[in-house]
Each structure stands twice: as structure tokens, then as C-alpha cells.
Symmetry: C2
């Protein structure tokens, strides 16, 4: 990843929230995201897979050009993502997933999944892509890979209004044992259960 | 695509340049990009493929929260993309490409391809992804699909310092006849020449 040379590396989730000493949802999500990004770097560096997080979608409204060489965005807004956050290629397979984290211990709130993300997952499945979500229960320190099909089925019951019980995730998903290299070896699960099986 | 509700829809390339009446490179690039996006929408709406342009990578430095519900980015900078702009899935195949346009009539400048994009293409090929560039010669009104392999070979001669002659593109690539639906039917070329053949 190439950073803009003169810009400080302040991430979105951290920027305004670092002032509060307590660990909040955003930072917890950030940590899980960091572990996934590290795992993707591991896979990339070993020629195992090419999977990247998409940039945060931003609606740019105003740009200043104080100097010719350096455009400065001075007004922009976060947009909702129309797809999932992660995608790439693994042994010829298209990989597509979203990651969510919760402190809850018995269910995963679905309110963070948007209807158009669910539609995107359906479209990916129609094209024979491999699509899933990584769900992290931070209090339990348990991480699951849940294929898109059972997620979509559950979501459609109530258009994402309900929380998805952990028991449902355990029944239809696969636990990912956290380890060192990579931290979240989700491609092991893809290998064992998703390739050839769908 | 969901836009932030209160933000005006002003695109990056258009924002500062609309004031100049002459059509410049940026707007020309914008038009080609629009045609590709329209083609992708066409493919998506007919369940032919799921291919999206990635969001513009932005390094966010400062965010204001004037109201709880609406974060405003007040300082951010454009970053160089570390991957290609477009990716998705088509009949189970991972599709990955970049698009470039020129007004020149005999060659395509390679300075707009960055070294890390070339490396990304190499990585995608290693994972058996389908990777290429769409090259548009606006003066000639000719568009080509050039597979990543000959692009990489040419790029490595001089680390992107040279322009790639149109004759080379014609020899190693495939012309895409522009039409109405979709405007740039690049998946026809993928079907005929890239699937199964690489």
C-alpha cells in the first residue's frame, strides 16, 4: 500500500475516538480488521492468495489545489459500501467476504449488514464466486466463517432485523482457530469446506 | 451505489475542472470510465457478471462530527492505488483489470501504470485470475483489451518508461468493437480468447 507522502497515517476508526480511554466497538472492529489485513498480507507474501480490502468509499465534494502537486480534499463524506469489504483470487477462485465483530456472547446483530450487501452476495453466488462472512465474538474469542447462503437465508427472515444466534452460526458455519501465521487462517476453511463443495 | 444523503454528487475528476470549457484529459478519462461502469451495470443487471470499480483510495487525516449522524471529512489526500481499479467475478472466474485512455494515435504512455500495479497483475496471474487492461485511443476511437502478460513483458523492458506502440497492442491484444449494450463488451473478448486459453 502506498500512502500519500505528506499525510499522517491516521485511520478512520481511530481518528476521533482515540481520546476516549475505554475500548469501544470501533476500535475492537479495527483490531479484527487488522488481523484480517495481516492474514491477507501473509497470504500475499507467500503467493497463496491475492485478497485486498477495498478502500473506504468516500463521496468527495470539494478539493483544493494549494500546489499543483498535491490535491487536498477539504469536504467529503463517508458512503455506504455497495459491496463487501474484501475480495480477491485464490487458486483461480473468486473470494468475496465481509467481516463483523461483536462483544455479544450469544448472537451477532445483523444491523451492520446492509440490504445491498446481501444482494451483492447473492449476485456473487450466481457467478459461482466463493462468498462468506467472518464473524468474530470478541468476548468469547471465537471466530467463525459463515458461508453466504445461510447468512442470506437468515437475513431474509426479517430483512436483517433479527440478531443471528451463535447456535445458528455454529450449526451452519465453521470455527476458525486463531493462530500466529496467519492470525486468521480462513483459507484453510475455504479449502476444506467451500472449494468443490458448493 | 448508495450516496451519502446530503452530499452533492460531484465526482473527483469533474470537481475542479468543470470550470474550464475545453475537454481535457481528465474528462476524457472520465468518459471512458463512465462507459466501463455502464457496461458493468449492464452485466450486473443481466446476471452476466459482478464487476465493480473500487473506490478511490483516500488517506483520511481529519474528520469533524458536527452532528452525531453525519461525519464530515475535512482533510484527506488521494493515495496511489495499490491494485487495479476493477475486479469481480464472471462464471466463476476472477476478473481484474485497469483502464487507460490516451489522445495519442500511435502509442499508449505507460507512465500511468505504477510498478505496484504491475506487481499486483503478476500476483493475480499466479493465482490463475484473468487479468488485462482496457486501452482506449480516443482520437482513433479504438479500444483494445490487452492481456496482462504482454503488458508486463513490455513494462519490464524499461520499468514503464517507454510508451507502448499501438502496433504492439494490435499484435498482442484484441480490439473491442464499441456498441450500444453494453458500450464496451469486453467480456466477449474474455470469452473468446482468455477463458480456457491461459
Amino acid at each position: 500500500m502506498v500512502n500519500y507522502p505528506n499525510a499522517k497515517r491516521v485511520s478512520i476508526s481511530k481518528a476521533p475516538r482515540l481520546k476516549t480511554p475505554s475500548i469501544d466497538f470501533a476500535n475492537r472492529g479495527m483490531r479484527f480488521e487488522t488481523l484480517i489485513n495481516d492474514s491477507n498480507s501473509y497470504y500475499l507474501s507467500r503467493n497463496i492468495a491475492v485478497i485486498h480490502k477495498k478502500p473506504t468509499p468516500v463521496q468527495i465534494v470539494k478539493v483544493d489545489y494549494p500546489r499543483r502537486s498535491r490535491a487536498k480534499i477539504v469536504e467529503a463524506y463517508f458512503r455506504q459500501a455497495s459491496t463487501t469489504d474484501y475480495s480477491g483470487v485464490y487458486k483461480g477462485y473468486y473470494i468475496d467476504f465481509e467481516a463483523k465483530e461483536t462483544r455479544q456472547t450469544s448472537s451477532m446483530p445483523l444491523k451492520n449488514f446492509h440490504a445491498h450487501q446481501i444482494i451483492h452476495m447473492e449476485n456473487v453466488l450466481k457467478q459461482q464466486g466463493i462468498c462468506f462472512v467472518l464473524l468474530h465474538f470478541s468476548t468469547l474469542q471465537e471466530t467463525y466463517l459463515l458461508p453466504a447462503e445461510p447468512l442470506i437465508s437468515f437475513y431474509q427472515i426479517d430483512q436483517g432485523g433479527k440478531s443471528m444466534p451463535l447456535s445458528y452460526i455454529r450449526e451452519h458455519g465453521f470455527e476458525i482457530p486463531l493462530q500466529s501465521h496467519p492470525s486468521i487462517p480462513y483459507l484453510d476453511v475455504v479449502d476444506k469446506y467451500l472449494i468443490g463443495g458448493n
